[in-house]
């Protein structure tokens, strides 16, 4: 029982991070019908900035504010000046720009901060004794905080989409950009905001993520696996569904924790294979995912 719960908790924590990155992918997909493959590297770059700020003596809780704002600005600028000029052409062009951003941001982070591992500050107390005991299993405070942050982000997004006029405009653009424009919506502005919002969510995820992946250090490859798991999660849930991102992310996180824990002949490196099998499986069997309405036309 206690081992099962430990695995469940660990799965929910990594799952929460997949939820956040999947949400970031969903926000962009809803408005642009593209998967932003550079999402992980946006988060990587801003995580480096967070590390750099804390090295300068800033508390990580203070640093997270400029970092999330920087994420928003980077996403918005990328849409306005890199994606928009090519979006009229076709989706392949957008994909190529996103891949360019992917390698460009990774290279930039390496050039500025070097390729050695950075010891990343934890946001939450994480030492001996900072846990609740639940049926003999340890529920660490830091895991709980990650869950709460993720839940708050999900609730915030749902309220934004359902209750605000900006959210209504975003949903309209997601459904039919041409009609939205005819109704007086500035579609370009909505796309810029969507990319900014998406990158801001990614930045938040990045800062919370690094301490949760062993050994809790930041390096240039930190985001590769996470992006693949989160893409699989978003695809499983349905690329245009917030609910799908939440369900998909948690299934990925808990599912991988259970498989790695209970199926003894499988070691950790199988996780990536599992994610890729899932991606291919969803694309062949149910391209709209569990809750989505639109399918991925091209990858």
């Amino acid at each position: 029982m206690d081992i099962f719960l430990s695995r469940l908790f660990a799965g929910m924590t990594s799952g929460s991070i997949y939820v956040l990155i999947a949400l970031a992918l969903v926000v962009v997909f809803r408005s642009s019908t593209t998967i932003n493959f550079a999402q992980g590297e946006f988060a990587l770059f801003t995580a480096y900035v967070a590390w750099w700020l804390t090295e300068r003596g800033l508390n990580i809780w203070v640093a997270i504010v400029p970092v999330v704002i920087l994420g928003f600005i980077m996403g918005a600028l990328a849409e306005r000046f890199l994606i928009r000029p090519v979006r009229k052409r076709d989706e392949t062009a957008i994909l190529i720009v996103a891949l360019g951003l992917f390698t460009g941001l990774n290279g930039l982070a390496g050039w500025i901060w070097g390729s050695d591992d950075k010891v990343f500050p934890t946001m939450f107390p994480s030492s001996e004794g900072t846990y609740f005991s639940v049926f003999g299993a340890r529920l660490h405070y830091d895991a709980l905080f990650v869950w709460l942050f993720t839940a708050a982000t999900v609730i915030g997004l749902v309220l934004l989409f359902k209750k605000t006029s900006l959210g209504l405009e975003m949903r309209a653009v997601a459904t039919n950009p041409e009609s939205a424009a005819l109704c007086g919506i500035k579609v370009g502005r909505i796309l810029t905001l969507s990319w900014g919002l998406s990158a801001a969510i990614g930045s938040l995820a990045g800062v919370m993520l690094v301490p949760t992946i062993p050994p809790g250090q930041l390096n240039l490859a930190s985001m590769f696996h996470v992006l693949i798991f989160a893409s699989a999660a978003a695809l499983l849930g349905g690329l245009d569904s917030i609910k799908g991102a939440v369900v998909g992310g948690l299934i990925m996180g808990v599912g991988l924790a259970m498989i790695n824990g209970y199926v003894s002949f499988i070691n950790g490196s199988f996780s990536l294979t599992f994610a890729l099998i899932l991606i291919v499986g969803v694309l062949t069997i149910k391209p709209t995912g569990l809750y989505g309405t639109r399918r991925l036309e091209r990858v």
Partner: protein
């Protein structure tokens, strides 16, 4: 009172990519006037609507109230008071009926105004009121067309462009839609520019007609003169 017509189009050319569909179109619509553009499939009617509403770029001149507007985006054209009901209705399928109408009211000043305007359209189209919480993609074709018209009118435009609103609908429903449009136009002074393949009902509410052939205006005149012209009646009215 202004001397210039509400909408004036001079030497308009537009098309898709390398292909020019419209050749030097001249056209005018006065404030509150109801004008119909007739033409066969492929004459360039939809292209004309897309160009005026800002969906596709054009060369030549579009004047609103006598002032050139350049090459505006659709949201900018709406600010000039010109709204389009696009061909195929452009339903925001994933949104419910109320949200579709709210989106149509994006340009209105306050939420209160949006709700008032929405109530007005629910009175004019009781069918939409019955289905106010339904997802728009599940409405019937006729209901979606009502929704498209109501949505385009939510912004209180001075002129409504309608691109083939009769397409794919039952004759009785088409008749109802045209009657409503005629009434709305007469009551609120909204000008109408209708593009139609099925001319009969459109001619009933229109005062003037432009006939489009292969991307150019072949002739124009009053609706009455078009009804009296045997050749045109046979070609476009079918009797």
């Amino acid at each position: 009172m202004s001397q210039s017509p509400l909408l004036e189009v001079r030497g308009l050319r537009a098309g898709y990519g390398q292909i020019n569909v419209l050749q030097d179109i001249d056209l005018e619509v006065g404030a509150g006037e109801v004008v119909v553009v007739l033409g066969a499939n492929g004459a360039g009617k939809s292209t004309l609507m897309s160009a005026i509403s800002g969906l596709i770029p054009h060369t030549g001149e579009i004047h609103v109230d006598g002032k050139p507007v350049g090459n505006p985006r659709p949201d900018e054209m709406l600010k000039h008071g010109i709204s389009l009901v696009p061909q195929g209705r452009g339903t925001l399928t994933a949104l419910d009926v109320k949200d579709n109408l709210r989106v149509g009211g994006t340009n209105l000043g306050s939420k209160k105004q949006v709700e008032e305007e929405m109530d007005r359209w629910f009175t004019i189209f009781p069918r939409l009121a019955e289905r106010r919480d339904q997802v728009a993609g599940t409405l019937s074709g006729g209901e979606q067309q009502m929704l498209a018209i109501a949505r385009a009118l939510m912004s209180k435009p001075r002129m409504l462009l309608c691109d083939e609103i009769s397409l794919g609908l039952a004759p009785l429903i088409i008749q109802g839609l045209f009657e409503t449009l005629g009434k709305v136009s007469a009551e609120s002074g909204t000008a109408l520019l209708l593009v139609e393949q099925n001319a009969e009902l459109a001619l009933d509410i229109a005062s003037r007609v432009y006939l489009l052939e292969v991307g150019a205006v072949a002739s124009s005149g009053t609706a009455a003169s078009f009804r009296d012209n045997n050749n045109i009646r046979q070609a476009y009215l079918g009797y």
